[in-house]
Symmetry: C2
Subunit: 327 residues, 2 copies
């Protein structure tokens, strides 16, 4: 990785105008990594433009320079492009409008931690074992001896905190704590990160989560299921995107094989979100039948259709055999 | 604190049989601190008895030696007593049966981090700024040069993690991350801690939480309220203790002054739990009228009574004045 860090630094130092791209529907990791990068490059005299095809959510308004994100640019204005946290070349969605994004000859630095990364850059700093892209940027700064100021520290910690699920996911390594500890000592505003990223919901969002949790049930095959039908959004005055995160709560029940949340939207799509606590279950195989994908422990699918309730009964006999009744 | 650490160590080294007491309704901090202490003292040749008046919850079954907790002992068998994480001398509840607990002449070490601590020990290592009792034990071990093994690390991290609300409470300091990082590097089983302490619920517990969230509403005075009446436990097949933690979710709504959860139990008690996101609001004053107490940001009360619904309306006039209607 040392050699890659050197290559990346050499390329960047020769550049004057740098475009830093975040993936669509940006999360704290892609935003934090990009902005920390921008702050550093600004200090060494580079002009930096931050771009993302989707407007960052209001929950990220605490990040410095978040207001500078653009969704359009002139590719010819730049002599270096950085992609952060983009799990594949298409993840920014900019390649649709900028068909020469990868063929313009402008060198590309690709900093990522997703196993799906297709190494689309001129320099690819891709570590699939890193907890987050911000973790890699942190290592890069350490390698270069960059002084991490308060703002950079807040940006990096936002990514580390977000991508480890507030230090709860299994990618929470010793390194993650060392980084968090160091960033807090450098003035990262941990309080605002927690408040913004993990302690925010609306009353309507709470009601929708409440409905999901209250409707949860365990199947005889130890799958924890909950369902939200299209008409339920209206009764909670909520929208499907407000479901984000609740699947992790369905997954809190020990003794279940996995948790599923099924939801319909108004456009005739059914989305399935799957999570498991088991290490030996590959959910990406479970969702493959529905054209879905993801990680072994967190997968999902989305398909055209609607949810239809079909209650079935079976009898568990004295020897614990299932007798299915079809009628 | 150095001097206190020396005094404590001198006392302990002279002892042969040590009684380590955890507070009633034990949490991860009092258990983790006590067991880490026991492991260390065992290594230096002491006989150690762990005692708690209440049986530790099953969620702590991953802690080493948790099965050795007793709820009875012979005071005369010991020549040193350690209280860990006991916010006041009565917090173990053992003083009821053992009336000479504090007058037997046996030296007492009191290790705690609560502001309410009444310094009941012979040696009082009380630091109200420490995030947890385990934090203090960690410092003590570091001071003495004790080698923290895997089991001790898991115990200490359980307390640190529990008392900082999985690193979300405002007591999550730089020191907390340094300790967590160090303990993980020493083999603390972080995964089982998260799974056991923060990723466990029952289907019935989820349903009850769901009901609380779904019934949440915001008053015109920006207080977020939810209510569970006694008959609702039966319909979820749940019990009042399964509400533990849900108040923190009610407190996730920005723009509210504070969150309140009111619940009735079958014995005719009404409990109120209060949380706020605001730094300038002292909830302990809010609950004082109900005979309650607690911290400025987290308070509660419990009183005999039942919940009665009383819907009121008022009119907000054009100048945003409230006009209360009494009828």
């Amino acid at each position: 990785m040392t050699k890659l860090f050197e290559e990346a630094n050499n390329g960047l130092m020769k550049a004057s105008n740098v475009l830093v791209l975040s993936h669509r529907k940006p999360d704290g990791d892609t935003l934090g990594a990009a902005i920390a990068f921008k702050i550093w490059l600004g200090k060494v005299g580079k002009n930096v433009t931050l771009a993302c095809i989707d407007k960052p959510s209001k929950v990220f308004s605490f990040l410095p320079f978040i207001g500078e994100y653009v969704d359009k640019f002139e590719l010819k204005d730049f002599d270096y492009i950085v992609f952060v946290d983009c799990g594949a070349s298409y993840m920014t969605n900019f390649q649709v409008e900028y068909s020469d994004l990868f063929s313009s000859g402008i060198p590309i630095l690709n900093v990522d931690h997703h196993a799906s990364n297709d190494n689309f850059g001129t320099v690819n700093i891709v570590d699939v074992l890193a907890s987050s892209a911000t973790t890699i940027i942190y290592r890069f700064f350490k390698f270069l001896g960059v002084e991490i100021d308060e703002n950079m520290a807040t940006c990096l910690l936002s990514g580390v905190y977000g991508d480890t699920g507030s230090f709860m996911h299994s990618n929470t390594s010793k390194e993650v704590f060392e980084i968090a500890s160091d960033l807090i000592s450098r003035g990262a505003d941990f309080k605002i990160i927690v408040k913004s990223l993990f302690r925010s919901n609306t009353v309507n969002g709470l009601k929708l989560w409440g409905r999901v949790l209250e409707k949860a049930f365990k199947t005889p095959d130890d799958v924890l299921v909950s369902v939200i039908k299209e008409d339920e959004y209206a009764s909670c005055d909520a929208s499907p995107d407000q479901l984000s995160g609740v699947i992790d709560y369905l997954n809190m029940v020990p003794g279940t094989r996995f948790a599923v949340l099924l939801n319909e939207d108004r456009r005739g799509n059914v989305k399935g979100s799957f999570r498991t606590r088991l290490d030996d279950l590959d959910l990406s195989k479970v969702v493959a039948d529905f054209g879905g994908g993801g990680h072994p422990k967190a997968s999902g699918f989305s398909m055209k259709g609607k949810l239809v309730e079909d209650v079935r009964y079976f009898i568990m006999d004295e020897d614990s055999n299932k007798k299915t009744l079809d009628f």
